[in-house]
Subunit: 630 residues, 2 copies
């Protein structure tokens, strides 16, 4: 069927469902959404369940857009009238091309109202379609710039979304039915995640990361399977860590022009981390894989999806994201392929334990035949202490150091572990398990934390309740203080007060942590606490192994006199026990499991243990293989 | 290194080895060969081992070509003087572009002389490089036309071979080292053989066949791995059966312009079978996959290799063919990849039992890490009677029928089984185990037999001895008589004499066999003997199952009164026992075995039995998978 006929068809079905008096003038695909244009947006808004019914019947994501738009100035007044003042509206942006008004508010829930009533009231008043985003309670320059950029390129984006929408909804032409997955990286190793899923109709790339600390750190992007890059229907990112998304902008440099799907939080975090990655690479080598221009390309082509939203991303593929419990916005990507042909999930990195920030990864799926799961801690001895034990150990270390008047440096990766440690410290002080001292946040940690406060929907229910119902946002607690400058660092180092400093880089390869180390390492009252894995060859690993002198630049060395501690258990990954429990709880039980994202031993060990314990067919694939799923 | 520099390098090395007084003017790649141009071809020929030494040192196949050429007429006289008369020269063709003279003779061995002395004498006399081919003792129109066509396009071919030669010897550019095999057909099924072997440098397609009796009978040629088709470095055919080579000409239609490697016998047989395939398909459907023009394209781009000749076919791949014992020219394709990186063999179809025509398949290789082996009879119960038992049963049936004055119809596939049955019958008569009656050959069988007589080098030593030393070519025995016309068929049917008729098609789906059946099926004195597998849905299968009436066209039916017998054991495939024995005797023992070319049960059964018995890693791959070898 021609796409025009398909749209006519859809319009006829919508006309039949819409009550008399509401006129649908046009329907059009925009990205994965079906947009209904109407002269009567207010009447549409009156029919509370109409959109839901249409979405279910047509199996499409539906957006209603008015034809005639109220004057923005008058409309703005009306919005401010309808929305209760405590919503804290900070910005209104009217886009005549989409008929949407973007409402930025401190409390988006108040703008939406119970069951969306306030939102519908807005539509009825002004005709414009309201979209609500949160005003970051801590200002995030990433979020701000991302939103500004997307506004600036809105015309291009609209064009792009129409093109993609029509591509997604093209006819299925092949009579063959098969599904294959090609491993382009991250097999029997950690890093450079990249998996190509292909059917006779479509090709989807899942993740496109780098391998940290490795010169050969790219996935096998040169094999013919993914060429031309523009034959890809979609790139799907599981989460923002660089081993999963660092090289997404590179795809645009090589000619990709299609969409990149992710959760909204993943989009913002990955832009932040990619830009930082470019700085780090530029410092280390002269060869930068791409520039910030390609990061913008990525942003321009990004399409965000929330957990649980079933979305057409190719004629024969539906994508649904589910919570992965690993970092903010991290997702298990579940694909429904063909009309009931096959269901496959890529876990990305996941945590099956509840953490301070996130709930455990989803193990329940409507259907599931195959799983590609991470196996970072897949070895039979890869057990981690419980979060509780880890926190006790952390509290003890803080108490010891503060009691002797020392300062604590916690080097940490900006996204994930830092926030876990922050919340543990905040609660420790609140419940008086540790003394109230300043917790300084330096490096990208403050920016990452700002992004966390922008997307509290992605946090676990306990934390959401604390923030929304109890009005207590622990990220905004008094103990935390941002550090922006070298002079402030000097003040902190020079002050006599005990404190905690959480700062990047997590493995002491550059970053502000080096300044703190330089200033504080000589004094044995102070303490350095490792909360994350220290890779071979890093300064962190050397200190962990007991080196007493660390070279700093060409001439200087730092003498390491401060106390060194390692506190395991803050990891965002499932340990061996949790990985096995996850498989056990998977519902429905899959037919096949592929263990990836683990070193050779861990991946093989996990695969064989799962097979032995649960009699599920398992593989520990190698890179550059193709598995036929069906 | 630029190819020009590489050639300069080679020339310097050759100059250093060549004795004073011999001038090398130029060296050039032509296909897989290195051609040395010289003013002194006669002196070159004096140095008996010089070419062998150069070949070994440079690890190249070497051809010497003179710069100045004797007048063809004078040269022809000289050739006829040097070569003993009993060589039976039937044609001389002088090609000034290559400096070669093609000598067609009834006894090529006599032209070559002991250890090539006569051949060297020719070179010394005339300067032209002699190439010797056999005059087919039974005239084969395929061989004749093939040779004529190749002469007609010799300029184009020379150009093509230079291009390919330079491509084969291009520099290796990638620092990655890996080897993958992608299954494009023939996995857990019989038919549509097609395997893509790829490295960072090169891509090679092994076989490209159809699946008989199937509308979906093509390999998965539409997947991105093999595109653009011109990125393939080579197509390598194991043997001429249509399930291995029917769709090679299609590759040219889709844009392939590279070489197709095969043995000389496979080239001629496959051209014959492809042209016949086009006729059969045209009769059955209106959609013909390609035309005879593409068969010519294939022929123009074909490069033939004999067993045992180690040949560069890509910068990092050497191909060596070994006897497969299956049909004339059938080969196991052995690939040496990288400089000692990996060795992999594709058996194609093979027979590990000695048959009347061929020796058992080679099981000895210089190196071997992986094998893709056929598993047609890989099931644990797939035992075949011995050839001896099969022949006894055939003799008994012939005796019974002849004694009662009846005629015997043996439907058979043109290539392989027909000739086995012919030789069994000829010996039966010679040793007086069966009465001397006429054996009529109809359909493509006579043409196929003619090609067999053109390439007796491919027959087993016993048969070669019979032909060359005892002067007794059983294919030329008096009992055999070709049938060319419907009227002759009428005579045979109408005559009162007992006889044997071997004719196509092998499964009674059309072909001259239908005329014989129409004329002879009513009489219960006659006998129909099946010597090959009858697929479901064929007339052959129906008769085997006991149908008494067979529709012929729309109105007529044939009443089946003649006796029906099935004689198993003439198969060109190894049975289960031989497959296992083959694995046991493989030397060196491979690390991995992939069972292909068998139905699902057989492939899996063989794979698991090999693993259990010999502890070799095995896989029964599916279509569309990619396996990483190294
Ligand atoms: Zn991660
Ligand atoms: Zn990861
Ligand atoms: Zn496997
Ligand atoms: Zn065969
Ligand atoms: Zn075959």
């Amino acid at each position: 069927m021609l796409i025009e006929d398909r749209l006519k068809d859809l319009k006829a079905k919508i006309d039949a469902k819409v009550p008399a008096g509401i006129k649908v003038s046009e329907v059009e695909f925009e990205g994965p959404e079906l947009v209904i244009y109407t002269d009567d947006p207010k009447k549409f808004a009156d029919e509370a369940d109409l959109i839901k019914i249409l979405a279910r019947e047509l199996r499409k994501r539906i957006v209603v857009r008015p034809n005639i738009l109220e004057d923005p100035e008058i409309a703005a007044d009306k919005v401010n009238n309808v929305v209760p003042e405590d919503a804290g509206i900070t910005d209104l942006f009217f886009d005549p091309d989409t008929g949407e008004v973007l409402i930025e508010a401190e409390k988006p829930g108040v703008v939406i109202g119970k069951n969306g009533t306030t939102l519908r009231d807005i539509t009825k008043e002004i005709g414009w379609t309201p979209k609500v985003v949160r005003t970051p309670p801590i200002e995030s320059s990433t979020v701000k710039q991302t939103r500004q950029y997307l506004r600036a390129v809105k015309d291009e984006r609209k064009e792009f979304l129409r093109t993609i929408g029509r591509r997604i909804h093209r006819d299925i032409t092949s009579k063959d039915k098969w599904l294959r997955v090609t491993t382009l990286g991250c097999c029997r190793e950690v890093g450079r995640a990249a998996f190509l899923m292909s059917t006779p109709e479509s090709k989807i790339l899942i993740d496109c990361g780098e391998k940290p600390g490795n010169n050969d750190g790219y996935p096998y992007l040169y094999v013919p399977e993914i060429y031309p890059l523009n034959s890809l229907d979609a790139v799907v990112i599981t989460h923002a860590h660089l081993d999963h998304c660092a090289l997404v902008p590179l795809l645009y440099k090589y000619g990709y022009e299609g969409p990149v799907y992710s959760t909204p939080a993943t989009r913002d975090l990955s832009v932040m981390l990619q830009l930082d990655y470019l700085d780090v690479v530029a410092n280390e080598t002269s060869k930068v894989p791409y520039s910030s221009k390609e990061v913008q390309q990525y942003l321009k082509h990004s399409i965000t999806l929330n957990y649980g939203s079933v979305t057409d991303i190719a004629p024969d593929v539906k994508l649904t994201y589910h919570n992965a419990g690993h970092i903010l916005g991290s997702a298990i990507a579940h694909f429904h392929v063909g009309d009931g042909l096959y269901n496959i999930a890529f876990t990305g990195d996941f945590n099956y334990a509840k953490s301070r920030l996130f709930g455990p990864a989803t193990s329940q799926f409507p259907r599931l035949e195959a799983v590609f799961m991470e196996s970072t801690y897949g070895g039979s001895n890869d057990m981690q202490p419980s979060r509780k034990d880890a926190e006790e150990k952390l509290y003890e270390a803080v108490n010891d150091t503060v009691n002797r008047g020392g300062k604590i440096i916690i080097p940490a990766f900006a996204v994930g572990r830092s926030q876990e440690v922050m919340l543990a410290l905040e609660e420790g002080m609140r419940l008086e398990k540790i003394p109230k001292v300043k917790v300084y946040l330096d490096g990208m940690i403050k920016e990452a934390t700002a992004i966390h406060t922008t997307y509290p929907e992605y946090l676990n229910p306990d934390l959401r309740k604390l923030i929304f119902q109890d009005g207590m946002n622990p990220f905004l607690a008094d103990c935390f203080e941002q550090v922006d400058s070298s002079s402030k660092r000097g003040d902190i180092i020079g002050s006599g007060d005990p404190c905690v400093i959480i700062t990047t880089s997590g493995m002491l390869n550059g970053g502000p942590v080096m300044e703190y180390l330089y200033g504080l390492a000589q004094d044995e009252k102070n303490m350095l606490i490792f909360v994350g894995y220290q890779a071979d060859g890093t300064t962190g690993r050397r200190i962990q192994k007991g080196w007493k002198e660390i070279p700093l630049g060409r001439r200087e060395t730092i003498n390491i006199n401060l106390e060194i501690k390692t506190v395991d258990g803050f990891s965002g990954h499932s340990d061996r026990k949790q990985l096995m429990a996850y498989v056990n709880h998977l519902n429905p039980r899959p037919e096949k499991i592929f263990t990836i994202h683990g070193d050779e031993k861990s991946a093989i060990d996990l695969a064989s243990s799962i097979y032995k314990r649960y009699k599920i067919e398992t593989h520990a694939p190698r890179n550059l293989e193709t598995y036929r799923m069906v």
